[in-house]
């Protein structure tokens, strides 16, 4: 029960007036980021990260994580009202959310979406509260080989679980590793891969990559699609909210299932987007009204929203306890830790109690505040989306440039951001996933360090990665994740032989 005691201590930290103010600011900014096209959780947090340089780490992480929660909430608004997913993980929410809005049930759909998001997040936070300290305690005994095995598992899951072709995921990821390797070698202190350019001494900062790939790249994609915004009115009032809340407990099985799917997908770094699709698909198959899915079924809103939020939140579990982020946004938060001078990893739970438990307490409170904010302010946020793109696009571009500049106070970084933007646009058009690239830039140095230290310990023999049960087990899990599509195909073929050929 030490966790409960620590948690209360965390609440005491969060309930300081300044931290509450920062939390509210974070939520509002986050919802705006989630609503605006071209700004997502990852690059929104990246752009606003420099704002926190003058704050204490605890206030800073509260603000940034609240931006993250806010952006998770915001995605639902655009999906339901405008049929435009503000975030990739809200795509599945459009399937039933928008038809509901078209039938004049927008308020119901939004209430269901927000409430399910809250439930999903809450479930994940409870999991974090009780599981993360145990994982951290366990991970304290990890040597370099185990650490590398964890990285290996994280990256293999990306390759195996992603919906993009595996070879493209590998290309994208390895480009990230290569970019991370540029500059000073952290082990020997030698320069490498700079080819004489002094600008590359410090390597590529992942924040610049995030702002360019996700921010600029996304705007270019949005422009190409051409934006026609014809939204539904957002009628939401207390009566609709209460009516929907009275109806929701009926779907507790869907909720619980989606929570579990979300947590699983969030912790293994598959992320919120596949979690929402998977949860939607399973709910459709399991529901008695499955045939009505896609025509405005409330269960079709609950399932993906719950899973997306559970995944988005639980992505912080491995980040906190192992130092391996489960999603690009968690990766940006992890980068924030490094900037504030904290060493991510299991030691955080020992050395930075106030920080960790303040963050966890802020997850409880932040999601509650977020729910209240979005329920009361939907029309306001929907109005943001009605601002014409010719006004909002240059403002987003300006904020991207400011964000990129203020990371190192360098104008070279702004140019680099633009280059990353073009690269992101082309890669996305060619169906390369961008998240592994960013994660590899963030984790590259630490993965390499773990790899080289393990080899040092074993005098260069790679047998060190299966020298004991623990490291061997993690590596085996990684291989299973890597070849998951093949395993899945095999088992599907077996099932198809037994059952009728149509799914």
């Amino acid at each position: 029960m030490e966790e409960v005691f620590n948690l209360f201590h965390g609440f005491a930290v969060v309930l300081q007036p300044y931290n509450l103010l920062v939390m509210l600011l974070g939520i509002v900014l986050g919802v705006m980021i989630g609503v605006l096209p071209g700004l997502g959780g990852a690059n929104g947090v990246a752009i606003l990260l420099p704002l926190t340089f003058s704050m204490s780490p605890t206030s800073a992480i509260i603000m940034l994580s609240c931006i993250y929660w806010g952006s998770l909430f915001g995605g639902a608004i655009t999906s339901v009202l405008f049929n435009i997913p503000g975030e990739p993980w809200s795509v599945a929410t459009t399937f039933d959310g928008h038809p509901m809005a078209q039938n004049g049930r927008a308020g119901e759909a939004l209430t269901a979406a927000f409430t399910s998001s809250f439930v999903g997040a809450l479930f994940a936070v409870v999991v974090i509260t009780f599981v993360a300290p145990l994982v951290a305690l366990f991970a304290l005994q990890f040597g370099p080989a185990e650490k590398f095995a964890i990285f290996f598992l994280a990256f293999c899951s990306f390759i195996g679980m992603g919906k993009e072709p595996p070879a493209k995921t590998i290309t994208s990821m390895m480009i990230g590793f290569a970019l991370a390797a540029v500059g000073l070698d952290s082990v020997t202190g030698q320069l490498r891969l700079t080819f004489g350019f002094t600008e590359l001494l410090n390597g590529f900062d992942f924040l610049i990559a995030v702002i360019g790939l996700f921010g600029i790249g996304e705007i270019l994609l949005t422009v190409e699609e051409g934006l026609s915004l014809r939204g539904r009115a957002a009628g939401i009032n207390l009566k609709v909210v209460l009516q929907t809340w009275a109806e929701l407990p009926r779907y507790w099985i869907t909720s619980l299932r989606s929570c579990l799917i979300g947590c699983w997908m969030g912790i293994s770094p598959a992320g919120a987007t596949p979690a929402s699709f998977m949860s939607y698909g399973i709910a459709k198959r399991a529901s008695r009204r499955g045939d009505n899915f896609g025509k405005g079924e409330i269960e079709g809103v609950i399932a993906p929203e719950t899973a997306a939020h559970a995944a988005g939140t639980s992505a912080l579990l491995p980040m906190l306890s192992l130092g391996v982020p489960g999603s690009p946004t968690a990766a940006v938060l992890l980068g924030g830790l490094l900037i504030w001078g904290l060493q991510p990893g299991p030691l955080l739970f020992v050395e930075q109690k106030e920080f960790v438990w303040g963050l966890i307490a802020s997850m409880y409170l932040g999601n509650l505040v977020g729910l209240a904010v979005v329920l009361t302010c939907v029309p306001l946020f929907a109005a943001i989306l009605r601002i014409p793109f010719t006004i909002i696009a240059p403002i987003i571009l300006v904020f991207c440039a400011i964000g990129a500049y203020s990371v190192h106070n360098s104008t070279f970084d702004v140019i680099l951001m633009l280059v990353f933007g073009v690269v992101g646009y082309v890669l996305k058009k060619c169906n390369y996933p961008l998240a592994p690239l960013v994660l590899a830039i963030v984790l590259g140095d630490r993965a390499e360090e773990a790899f080289r230290q393990s080899l040092l310990g074993s005098q260069g023999s790679i047998a060190v990665f299966w020298s004991n049960g623990l490291v061997g087990g993690i590596m085996a899990l990684g291989l299973i994740a890597l070849f998951w599509p093949l395993i899945h195909q095999g088992s599907a073929r077996l099932r198809a032989q037994r059952a009728s050929p149509t799914p």
């Binding site: 070879a167 300006v398 203020s406 890669l427």
Partner: protein, 172 residues
Amino acid sequence: MALDNSTNDVSPRRDGGPDQRVMEIGVSLVTALFGAVVLVGSLQVGIGWGAEGPRPGFFPFYIGLLIIGSSAVNLVQMGLTDRRSGFADWSQLRQVLLVFVPTAIYVVSILYVGMYLSSTVLIAVFMLWIGKYHWSLTAVISIGTSIVIYLMFEKWFLVPLPKGPLEELLYL
């Protein structure tokens, strides 16, 4: 958002544009080239085993090999497919350029005139030229945004942004 452009197989093109297959082959060649650059850079600093363990190029060398290998797989997969689809219409690409070119000019101009002036001009250009707004609204929003940014970054969060001759004139 271009979520999945692999599903529309033979979409009727509206006014032509680069071919998806050609683009993808180009991308895989570029990534392979990038991998080769990484290999060269790794070889320069040594990929073997030194006095203090693996040399700095040890890890990137294998990364470079993996980039070249996976690029080759992508290339072969693209070469084998006979699926034809457009990468983007010329009209779409024109729109992308309409945003990209001002942004590129904006980024370079930050070096010379600072963040505030160039941001004001960028917003104004978008609103007047693409959005066709009245100049009065344009002035309010473009100058207003810069003032808000100034107050938020320099005053509240104490993050200095690059300044140019205009700011020097105003003693900011």
